[in-house]
């Protein structure tokens, strides 16, 4: 590999890493909001509302946060696979 194309790969890999970290941070903010936010910090406020047979805060801490976690991992997989393709860093078959 000549030095020009090597630099290009390097730049593209750095851009890939930045995109990766941005994706992570946005997903982790949702992660924080549903668990620490809705399930702990604001639980008393949310408990004033009812959600079917649950108090809303209680539902988040015992059910909702877990459902959100599952969705988060699948969004992560989908976003990361797209990033891998865009920056051409997929593994060889």
């Amino acid at each position: 590999m000549d030095s020009d194309s090597k630099k290009q790969t390097n730049d593209s890999q750095q851009a890939y890493w930045r995109a990766n970290v941005t994706t992570l941070l946005s997903l982790l903010s949702v992660w924080f909001l549903v668990s620490f936010g809705c399930g702990i910090l604001w639980v008393d406020t949310l408990n004033q509302f009812s959600f079917f047979g649950w108090k809303l805060g209680f539902w988040f801490s015992q059910q909702g946060a877990i459902y959100a976690f599952v969705v988060l991992i699948f969004v992560y997989v989908w976003r990361m696979n797209a990033l891998d393709r865009r920056y051409k860093v997929e593994e060889d078959a």
Partner: protein, 586 residues
């Protein structure tokens, strides 16, 4: 058929299945022994990870804790699943790309230090053994209560089975038995939950039934009825938490970071072929885990309702069979404070100290007598939380085959986690300590032999823990999570996300995090347990949650030290860059 006979049949069948799988998937190389050759299908790996992750604590204890603590139990639900998200997003894919066998491998290579490697080995061994002690207690309870064999015999049988498939099959054998164990444990957990949900609410899905109305004609929501009953009996309302917000926050965070650093779960991601597979298999695993974790709080609420219903004001002489059996095993106790021959189940602890100390005598009605002091509240009942999941099908009068199934599920949960832990201990000894530190010229065949010897030794020690359980298991488990959060998690995370992170910062960070966490826990749990109350805690943080503070300190110290010490060698920085990219770079 009686429940006991059915339990023998179910446990016998499942054990037979595990052994058959072990014979079919024997390991021939270290590659197969440590990481199953690195080509496990992501769905299979997801199921195996779920079985690995969900221990006797998740299966036997968690619903019981939530049944008695109500809203506060959420720290386990969110802590253990949320930690999994951290693991899946921040650690697993990169460690898969690193492509070695163990966590100490990563720590040793990333921090270019044999000392760091050895410290990591010791942490892995400590965390794994504390964890195993809990699994063995679970095995002991199931055997002694359902098969009516001595706990010693139960532990020996359990260890024999694990020995067979872990030593013979290594990671390959463990992976495929764990897939089978996941199926057994989730079926055994869901069947009684669905049954009871139908009985109480007519809704088949427990995670929905839990938020529906009860079918007793009152038109109340299940949780409304439960809140009403608990308050009426002088207990805290089920859906109201008693822990302070600060403490819930710190405990949940410590559980999350602690579980993300559990070596036996991390190592599961080394068994899939690609980084992409590591990501998706984390997703499958969380679906499999969430199935149990969203059911557990429903089971907890149902159980609390059924317990109040069947025990409060019941006369001792007319109690069902199961009460006496659990009383015999020492996990239930009744002290007739007002001499009316009936059980009053109220708020507060019935006895002081709260755990019953049985005498050899029986009372007039045949109840076991205790030598504890009676407290001055009206509560007469002691119920050990660990029996809820096992006793619930009997409390709700479900058919015998369901009762038997639950016992087989409990064994599957305990044995699958124990096997995963044993493998981690064995690879820490044979691979990290011998091959990479003490005896570098070991051949592959010799290393494999040592791995088997180490696994056998670890099983023996774990068996001793089961037969002679150290009295402080619960304290030590809190310890294990806190220490993992304050040591492993920051070191691995920074090792991936910062190229500047170096040996000095890692050592300083781990030492400060560990010292703070261990010091705080040892002080409140062992040196001055009488001071273990909110008024003496720093910022209102209990010893259970101190790992979070230790972790923050670790991050802070690392950030400072890495700026004033030399950058890591270029080769290490290159390695960090390469694990961030799924593709092979040259």
């Amino acid at each position: 058929m009686s429940a006991q006979l059915l339990t023998y049949v179910f446990v016998g069948l499942t054990f037979g299945l595990y052994i058959a799988i072990a014979i079919w998937s024997r390991s021939g190389s270290t590659q197969e022994f440590y990481v199953a050759g690195g080509h496990v299908h992501p769905v299979a790996n997801g199921a195996a990870t779920a079985a690995d992750w969900m221990s006797a604590a998740s299966y036997l204890s968690m619903a019981g804790i939530i049944a008695f603590e109500g809203a506060d139990g959420a720290r386990y639900l969110m802590g253990w699943t949320g930690g999994y998200v951290l693991l899946a997003l921040c650690l697993a894919p990169y460690l898969r790309k690193f492509a070695k066998f163990t966590v100490p491998d990563f720590v040793g290579d990333r921090y270019y230090s044999q000392t760091a490697r050895v410290v990591a080995v010791l942490c892995v061994i400590f965390i794994s053994f504390t964890y195993i002690a809990g699994q063995m207690r679970g095995v002991g309870i199931v055997f002694s209560r359902f098969l009516e064999v001595e706990i010693e015999m139960g532990v020996i049988i359990g260890m024999g089975i694990v020995f067979f498939y872990a030593v013979l099959g290594g990671m390959k054998g463990i992976t495929y038995t764990q897939v089978a164990q996941y199926c057994v444990l989730i079926f055994a957990y869901l069947v009684p939950a669905i049954y009871i949900s139908l009985m109480l609410t007519n809704v088949p899905l427990p995670m929905l039934g839990f938020g529906s109305t009860v079918n007793d004609g009152s038109g109340l929501f299940l949780l409304e009825k439960l809140d009403g009953l608990t308050e009426e009996l002088g207990m805290a309302a089920f859906t109201e938490g008693r822990k302070s917000t600060v403490d819930m926050f710190f405990i949940t965070a410590a559980l999350m970071a602690g579980t993300a650093g559990l070596p036996h779960v991390i190592v599961r991601f080394f068994t899939v072929p690609k980084v992409r597979d590591a990501r998706i298999s984390a997703g499958y695993a969380l679906i499999f885990i969430a199935l149990l974790y969203t059911t557990a709080p429903a089971v907890a609420a149902f159980a609390r309702l059924n317990i109040i219903d069947s025990l409060n004001e019941a006369s001792y002489a007319e109690l069902p069979d199961w009460f006496g059996k659990w009383e015999d095993s020492g996990l239930l106790a009744w002290t007739d404070k007002n001499n009316d021959g009936k059980l009053q189940y109220r708020g507060g602890a019935a006895l002081s100290p709260s755990k019953p100390v049985f005498t050899d005598d029986r009372g007039q009605l045949g109840q076991r007598l205790v030598s504890n002091v009676q407290t001055d509240n009206a509560n007469e009942l002691y119920i050990d939380r660990d029996i809820i999941v096992l006793a619930h099908p009997e409390i709700a009068q479900l058919p015998n085959w369901v009762v038997a199934l639950v016992a087989a599920g409990g064994l599957a949960a305990a044995l699958s986690t124990a096997a995963g832990l044993l493998l981690v201990i064995s690879s820490a000894i044979s691979h990290d300590l011998l091959r990479n530190t003490l005896a570098k010229n070991l051949t592959d065949a010799q290393e494999l032999r040592w791995a088997r010897v180490a696994a056998a030794l670890a099983i023996f020690v774990a068996g001793l823990f089961g037969i002679y359980p150290p009295g402080f298991v619960a304290e030590v488990v809190a310890f294990a999570f806190g220490l993992a959060a304050a040591s492993f998690f920051p070191v691995i995370l920074l090792g991936i996300f910062s190229t500047r992170m170096n040996k000095e910062a890692a050592i300083a960070g781990m030492l400060s995090g560990l010292t703070l966490t261990a010091g705080y826990i040892v002080f409140f749990k062992f040196l001055a347990p009488e001071m273990n109350q909110a008024e003496y805690w720093w910022f209102g943080i209990s010893p259970e949650g101190i790992g979070t503070l230790g972790m923050l300190l670790n991050f802070f110290v690392s950030a400072v030290v890495m700026r004033i010490t030399p950058a890591p060698p270029v080769a290490v920085q290159e390695m960090v860059r390469s694990i961030r990219i799924p593709k092979k770079v040259d």
